[in-house]
Amino acid sequence: MTTKRLEQKHSLGKRWTHWVNFPVLMVMIWSGLLIYWANDVYEVNLGPASFHFFPDAVYRAFNLDHRLSEGMAVHFLFMWLFAINGVMYVLYTAISGEWRDLVPQKGSFGDALQVMLYDLGLRKQLPPQGKYNAAQRVTYSAIIVMGLGSLITGLAIYKPIQVAWLTEGLGGYTWARAEHFVLTLGYLGFFVIHIAQVLRAGWGNFQSMVTGVELVETKLAAKETVHE
């Protein structure tokens, strides 16, 4: 015999910062691409296969070309929203104690691999987990570190003379710009996996990021537990 009840899953602080971050990060990536277009020098060369970031069709499809000044003006406003929202999230997580559910533990990295294999259908059982599984712990912590990385590499290319020590520490101006770009590719990768996982987890999981609560089944009454 089971019964259903509502359980608090996501706190208000977490939901607010998550949903504020989503459009802000989108605007940052979009305006960043407007800026990147003006000097789109990055490409990946793997022997015969090479990929240039980005083919002209991409700029045309998303209307990203010849908009450098606009991109800079938007980027240097929304950087504040991105930074403030990120700081709020970290402060909230630290003070509320929710960080305990989120930071990787001993064994999380190994378990994260098992979770990945499970998700890919290559393993039958999930490792034991708390609120977040090991892959989530690793990913949701990494994304915060990446956010910090974007702020640091961003500052290094925004004010490379005033914080020359930082820019030099990142390998110089051209490297810092490349690092800033790679982090952005990381967000795009995160986004693809995150959306796929949310779709897979279903409505109950998705709505809990909006409402904060989830309907869970619980076994009724301890006496029904059979000890063998």
Binding site: K4, L6, P23, M72, P160, Q162, T211, V213, L215
Partner: protein, 252 residues
């Protein structure tokens, strides 16, 4: 209380209620964000960008000027073997032929002193400054170049004493086709120079012969080529790219 008369709500009903409220809230938030975005782009433009964005660019500039900018913060210097070829990007104001012998720098000193027509020899009376630094274009590329010239700070002290008190410097090409305005603090930075040499050779035409500004604390757009006039002002002078939607300050 008539709660007692209501049937007890099931968890499913409670969830449905919370879902309606939650998604209504999210929808209102999304609508507010979309409305804010619409509002931003419907605002009147100032120098090619909506006024709120221009205000934030200016506020960021003040923050940098007050919190980060120091004379002691220097552009890193590089050994000569790291010198790179540099693109010649902007040619506004360089179209006309240059008669190097007839060229004069028209200087309007501070507050009423008589205008001066300076020759290259007048400039070379000052101590020579030379360093190798990374030139940064607002487009995102950069090149390491060795520049030679005279410190702008020394130039002002000799030919326009007192002008350090002005808020801005205005520089234009002889034909006034290209023009920049730069805040005085950046102009007095110890690496800001009136430059006549690139990599040990006289400046080429495409790089700003006979005299250009090299100011490492600014993007390339402020590093005006073929300077014809210099004057001082308390109001922000016209600036070519700031009128096209770019940050007036453009500070690094």
């Amino acid at each position: 209380m008539n709660n007692a008369t209501l049937p007890p709500t099931t968890p499913e009903q409670e969830l449905a209620k919370r879902t309606r409220r939650g998604f209504l809230g999210l929808g209102l938030g999304a609508a507010a964000a979309a409305g804010g975005w619409q509002w931003l782009w419907s605002q009147p433009q100032e120098g090619g960008v909506p006024v709120p964005l221009r205000s934030v660019l200016d506020a960021n500039a003040r923050l940098n000027q007050n919190l980060l900018f120091r004379d002691a913060h220097l552009a890193p210097e590089f050994p000569p073997e790291r010198i790179q070829a540099i693109r010649a990007n902007g040619d506004f104001g360089l179209e006309g032929a240059l008669d190097a012998d007839a060229w004069r720098l028209a200087l309007t000193p501070w507050r009423g002193a008589a205008p001066l027509q300076l020759t290259m020899a007048d400039l070379k009376k000052l101590n020579k400054l030379e360093y190798t630094a990374e030139f940064k274009c607002i487009e995102g590329w950069s090149s390491i170049v060795r520049w030679g010239g005279v410190r702008f700070r020394d130039f002002v002290a000799l030919y326009a004493p007192g002008a350090e008190k002005a808020a801005y410097v205005s520089l234009t090409t002889p034909d006034k086709e290209y023009f920049v305005g730069v805040d005085m603090a950046s102009m007095l930075h110890p690496q800001t120079m009136l430059c006549f040499e690139k990599n040990g050779q006289p400046l080429e035409l495409a790089h700003g012969a006979p005299l250009r500004l090299v100011i490492p604390v600014k993007y390339g757009i402020k590093n005006i080529k073929r300077i014809g006039t210099i004057s001082f002002s308390d109001q922000a002078p016209p600036d070519y790219w700031a009128e096209e939607g770019y940050d007036y300050y453009a500070g690094l």
